[in-house]
Every structure is written in structure tokens, then in C-alpha cells.
């Protein structure tokens, strides 16, 4: 019973750490040929190369124009914008700082000089940022699991005695189910709390 809980706990740690690592690399825009996208139409000479899923303005201050992806390569994409073909980088030096769940996918090769519709952050060296994120998630989950572990100190001694003797309803689940269920629920709680905490770091109020 205890072994089961430890195994579940370990698996959840691993899963959440991997998920955090996968989610952290957000300064990349995943495009398919034929996709409609908003891109900066400031010309091939212009260095800003802003790409976004949403309307708004480029990092250089010009408005974003509708574009269509013609072909997509490794780290670059050829877009048709204003009737002309232009090659854009799909890995941004700068990215929209609206958070990991934001779907705007805005990237640029230039920091915003004009007041753009979004706030920008420099794409962090993604492995370090994701390590930090994974550590944050692990700590957050551990705090929640701790609440469960403290609770279980009071629970465990009562199960064979008092709890076994009281009358139970017909739908009472088997005792072994509570451990894994609570382990999972505390892990989800930890992850949820971390997501909220992370949003708080990005827009301090």
C-alpha cells in the first residue's frame, strides 16, 4: 500500500518535470505550409520579423499584416505577405511575455521599440528557465503532498481499529483507493497552484 503511493508519487514527479521542460520552449513558432499568420510587413530590409497568431503591431511599431505560409523549413518559413514572398525566422530572439498558456505565439528578432500590443521578454536560454520552472513545480507539488502526509499521520493508526469498526454505506470504496487518489489530487493541486503563482510573477499587482 505504502509502496504503491511512493511509486505513484515518483511517476508524477517525473511526468510533471517532463511536462514543464516541454512547455518551457515557447520562443518557437510552429508553422505548417498553408497556415494563416500575422506577420510584420515592414519589408525584407527590416530586422524586426515579428510573427504572431493574433492581430496587433510589430515590435518595430508597424501594424501586423495577414500572411500565408508557403513553405516551412528548419527554423525558417517562407511567407506570402502583401503579394510578395519573404523568409521569416520561426525561432524568436524575443517573445511575447504573456505567459506559457497564452496562444498568441508572438516572436520577434527585435525588442519592441514602439508601444506594441504585447509586452516582450527576451527569450531566456530555455534550458535554464525550464529547469527553474520544473524545480518550482516540484516544490509546489511537494508542499501539497506534505499536507497529505501530515494528514496521513493521523489517518493510518485509526484505519485498522476505529475506522474498520464503524458502519459503512454500500458505496464505500475499498481502503487502498484513497492513497493513490489523494497522491494524484495533491499533485494536480501543486501544479495548479504553481501555474497561478507563475502568472503572479509575470504581472505583479
Amino acid at each position: 500500500m505504502k509502496k504503491v503511493a511512493i511509486v505513484v508519487f515518483g511517476v508524477l514527479f517525473a511526468v510533471s518535470a517532463v511536462a514543464a521542460l516541454a512547455a518551457a520552449d515557447k520562443s518557437k513558432l510552429v508553422l505548417k505550409a498553408g497556415d494563416e499568420i500575422f506577420a510584420c510587413n515592414c519589408g525584407p530590409e527590416c530586422q524586426c520579423q515579428t510573427l504572431s497568431r493574433k492581430e496587433g503591431s510589430c515590435a518595430c511599431g508597424n501594424p501586423l499584416a495577414k500572411a500565408k505560409a508557403k513553405s516551412v523549413g528548419e527554423g525558417t518559413a517562407v511567407l506570402i505577405i502583401g503579394g510578395r514572398e519573404q523568409t521569416f525566422k520561426t525561432v524568436g530572439k524575443y517573445m511575447c511575455a504573456c505567459g506559457p498558456e497564452c496562444k498568441c505565439d508572438t516572436i520577434s528578432q527585435m525588442p519592441a521599440s514602439a508601444p506594441a500590443a504585447w509586452t516582450w521578454s527576451r527569450s531566456r536560454s530555455s534550458s535554464r528557465a525550464s529547469m527553474k520552472r520544473a524545480a518550482g513545480i516540484v516544490v509546489s507539488i511537494a508542499v501539497c503532498e506534505l499536507a497529505g502526509i501530515i494528514g496521513s499521520i493521523f489517518t493510518t493508526p485509526s484505519i485498522p481499529g476505529w475506522y474498520a469498526d464503524i458502519a459503512k454505506p454500500s458505496f464505500n470504496p475499498p481502503n487502498w483507493i484513497f492513497g493513490p487518489v489523494w497522491t494524484l489530487l495533491y499533485a494536480l493541486m501543486g501544479l495548479a497552484a504553481y501555474l497561478v503563482y507563475e502568472k503572479g510573477l509575470k504581472r505583479p499587482k
Partner: protein, 82 residues
Amino acid sequence: VKKALAVFAAQLLLNTLWSIVFFRAHMILGAAVVIVLLWALILATILLFSRISRAAAYLLVPYILWVTFATVLNISLYVLNR
């Protein structure tokens, strides 16, 4: 965000408190009161979280469903062992 995390912390404390009231103090009725309060605080947490992060709110849905079930279980244990 601070308020949301404060309510979250409160429900986590209440969660641990339930174990103490039910299993340590053997107070089934007292535990039922705690679990109803806990349920309300989880709902409040979900509502506050949903304004900040949708994913975070969804992650708590299994939790409130389980606590709903646990509340029913707790109250029926009280009725059966009065």
C-alpha cells in the same frame, strides 16, 4: 493572484484538518462540517484560479469531484453511526 493563493492555502489547511478531526478525534459530524467548508473553499479556489489560469482551474476539477464524493460518504457515515 495573492488572494487566490491565500484561499488555496486555506483549503489545503482545511484538507489536513479534516484528517485530524475525522481520524484522530473520531468526530464524524465535526468532520462533515469541515468537509462542507472545504468543498466551498475549493469552489472559491477554482473560481479565483479560472480568472488567472484556465488550466489551473481545470486541474482542480477532479479534486472537487472527489471531495463531493467524500462529503456524501462522510455524511452517510454520520447517519449510519449516530
